[in-house]
Amino acid sequence: MDTNTTRKSKNALLWRFLRGSKALFLVSMLASALSALCDMLSPQIVRVAIDNALGGAAPTELPVWAVALVERLGGFRWLGEHIWILAAAVLAVALVRAAAQYGYRVSNTAASERLLKTARDSLFSHIERLPYAWHMRHRTGDIIQRCTSDLDTLKSFISQQLTEILRIVILLVLSIVFMAGMNGRLTLIALSPVPVIVAYSFFFYRKIGAAFLDCDENEGVLSAMAQENLAGVRVVRAFGRERHERDRFEEQNRYYTGLWMKLARPMATFWSVGDVLSGTQILLTVCFGAAFCVRGDMLVGEYIAFLSYCALMTWPVRMLGRMISEMSKAGVSIERIAAIMDAEEERDDGAKKTPDLSGDIEFDRVSFSYDSDQEVLRDVSFTVKGGTTLGILGGTGSGKSTLMLLLGKLYPLGEGCGSIRIGGVDIRDIDTAYLRRSIAMVLQEPFLFSRTIRENIAMGEASDDEASVRAASRVACLEETADAFPAGFDTAVGERGVTLSGGQKQRVAIARALMRAAPVMVFDDSLSAVDTETDAHIRAGLAERFRGSTVILISHRITTLRQADNIIVLDRGRIAETGTHDELRRAGGLYQRICEIQEEA
């Protein structure tokens, strides 16, 4: 890929995520600058106190305005007699600094959390709008990782590394300005170790980065091993392999620990060399400063202020190298997020029609393949008269579920691959959301959200009023089951609640579909986990409630299919037989065989 365009798209992405937080970031930078300025001021006040107010030295190196201010108050000697004024000034500066520091922290967090929210929200709603085919192509775990840890990396890049580096740079620049204002030569001496310290930690973290990564990965291996052991506890016990498991775990545990142990010395060296370097910086300032004072080039208050600035700088300078070296991690993460954001969302190109969908559904010479080599459907044509029921019988891989995915436009039907029409309108021209809303689809393996049963049933609807939820549940034979749960319909399902059986899940999904008075209803093998009596019960309820709807039933059960007005038998992507139950059961084909098998039993 062209690096220029990816850089552009990465920048555009950052800019987009920064929407709504740029001003806050600016505020936080200003607050940070103000706080750094205050940091610089209090050593200056002390200096004035020592040199001018108490020491009686001429205020030659002070700014004119400051001298004028003091003269108006009563002069430096007067100030020395009223030292509380300077103490109050220290406190006043401290108050301003406290406010600035508070402002920095809060605005920086507010900005970065706003950024994170914008990024997460756009990722989520983008992912929801990506085509179904995209979802099928990507592994869930990988997408989740991009949405979580890569996003965290991106966030800390902006809110911690960028802003922290900027903060440290502001602090350094201000220190240089204030120090140089007192003594240029000592400033050079005091700052001379700074580049060494920064470079040292930069190269150290760059070099050690791989080792840290290795540790992280091996921790992952160890963690996965524990996970596997716990999840597979039945296998471990049944084969009596506790000892093997222990040995395996101990070995990896030892290896992982060893990796950290190997890091102990380099880390310890790094810290102690860092200590020596910053110690040397202070020592240099102490000695040269003392010498300058003795020679009369500098006043003692200035000397003390220099020492304060050095102490102020030590930690930020030691952090700087690490910050810079860790910035490179962010590039990869941004790229991985951009890969999702650059994928194209589902689009309705001019498909705006919202026709009445209770008419005939026609599949006209439909062919389809997921990837170009193998056709799942070949030249399939059939018509379902509006308001009638179509039964579909077919084995694994016969293409029956694909038919329904095409009907709901979950996969777009390519040009020249035939067409699907409802009431004479090609579904390519129908508004996708409108189309899907008009087709109540119950899938073979229903997906339930980890919310309450009620919320699951009313998921697609605007309201969840008791009467309609109950009515839908009654037809789906779910009412009694739900009432038997501790919190009735308000019982949570999934991770944080009860675990439903396959049949119960299917019934929730059916009730969910029934909430919508849709003109088209599709049941894709959705009663397979329900026992025969309940199946019959549900079908009777459905027939009564949806007299006007067009229904497509995919099933293996003849008792389910026989009530259909028309039945097609799909075999490897083609229609093998078509007709009513009475016609097909004597046609001598697959349907007849199935009838015989099921009747015999």
Binding site: V46, I50, L54, I83, A87, A98, A99, Q101, Y104, R114, L116, R120, E128, Y132, T148, M225, E228, N229, L230, G232, R234, R237, F239, R241, E242, R243, R246, E250, T257, W260, M267, A268, W271, D275, V276, G279, L283, V286, C287, A290, V300, S308, G395, T396, S398, L410, A433, L443, F447, S450, M459, G460, S501, G502, D531, R557, L590, I594, Q598, A601
Partner: protein, 597 residues
Amino acid sequence: MKKNGLLGLGFVLPYMKKYRPEIAGLVLASAVGGLIDIGVPLFQRYAIDRFVTAGSLRTLPVFIVIYLAAILAAAGLNYIGCVWGMKVEVCLDRDLRDAAFNHLQTLSFSYFNQNSVGYIHARIMSDTQRIGELLSWTMLNGVWQLCYVVGSVAAMFVIRPSLAWLVTAILPVAAMLYAVFQKKLFTLNREIREQNARITGDFNEGIMGARTIKTLVVEDKLSGHFAEGTETMRRRSVAAARVHGLFAVTMSFASSLALSLLLWRGGVIAKEQIGTFSMFMSYAQGLMEPLRWVVDAVVSFITTNINIERLRKLMETRSDVVDSDAVLERYGDSFSPKRENWEPLHGDIEFRDVSFRYPDGEELVLEHFDLSIPFGTNLAIVGETGAGKSTLANLICRFYEPTEGVMLVDGRDARERSQLWLRSGIACVLQTPHLFSGSIRDNLLYGNPDATDDDIRRALELVSAAELVDRLPEGLDTDVGEGGDLLSTGEKQLLSFARAILAEPRILILDEATASVDTLTEQRIQSAIDRIIRGRTSIVIAHRLSTIRNADRILVVRGGKIVEQGKHDELMRAGGVYCRLYTRQYEDEATSAALDR
């Protein structure tokens, strides 16, 4: 509480013993390091009083040498602290993890049924880590900074008590304030973590449920819900930042307050003793940060108590199924079996007047149950999903012990031999195949590490999995990924069949072994089952009924209890539960078979 000593540390003490020299050294190094740090302002005082004020640089060389020595000593102590701290942390961590993991290997199923994998996993991985960190870095920092605080307060009092009061009066107030903030922050941070987990869960749902979400057209609704979640997260984080900001501000303001007091009350002495004044200034400004670390350490010691308690609870949990001392004496335990004392397992099983209730259940699922399963019997257990079909298999494997009555193996009470002895003669294939990361060979050898490649080959052929392995790029050495996830469920199940066969079991248990595989694999497995149960005692818990028609005995389970038993023909004639189940399933199976042909 008492027996675990201060803050539950009594529990960790035995693990710390091994690292006594390092821990002692760590404490000592941090203490000395903290004391040396006190020297920096003293050096500055000396420089000002002796060089600047006195106007002479005579002692400068000596000063430099001593100063350098102090820097190097502090660096050296930091080095030692770092190396030992690392050692104590990771080793303690490792030992605790090993101990927890090993202990888990001895626990019975009731523990695993009552606690989720995630919960137990956190005990092994994160609790141990917190404890290791506490006893190394937190301690190192705490002691170092405590010594610095105490030492510098002492230095101030020695040099000029009147000024020392000004600076130290602020300390207790500041310390108390930090503690209050810490507690508040602890709660806030936990809430943020929980909200973060919820958002990850929402991402997961939005991706896993893509198809349902699209067919229901609820993209906007979910995005709205998601945005609410992220908004909560944002608000909580900003709220925490306010507290955190206030905390930091209070701290630095305390330093400035000390400085201001010093200037106000002590400014006068700056005239004569400028060095002393400068020293006090450094202490006033430099004390608050170390104080914060001390409070941090104290708070960590308190909060980590939860982790210690949880780990202790795990380590004190005992298995429901234990071998008696006499049995352990003769047969050895799971980690060091005395195989030389083991008599061969024949494979007769008998339940004699057994009543059983699951440890967490209320109802008896077996009541005065008698059943004899002589070697070579093919026993089938059928029933609806969730009817309690696995109970017998669990008892046979001694995953649970009968509440009353006895289970006999080869005519003797099962409790007279060790669990490992029994399980060495049993192999299981479970509904959800579970493989371990590693190669296919590693996995197949799981039940029998001594099997040769020829044995493996034979087993694979027996279960029609040879072709599957041949197709893979590296054959038996192919990596199966974490939990075997690089293979399909069907492939994993075929391999777990081969794994069971390789163990050469006298007793074979198939627990709904074909329930989660596709039709094609199921057919292959079904034809293999007939071959592999020959010459063994087998217990087939069936999801599909067509293959158990020839079983010597069929038990029908409903609502956790055995409601019918007999041979296929007898049960069909009786026209009861079995007859109904069979009829329906036969229909389904035959239909699928005909359609997929």
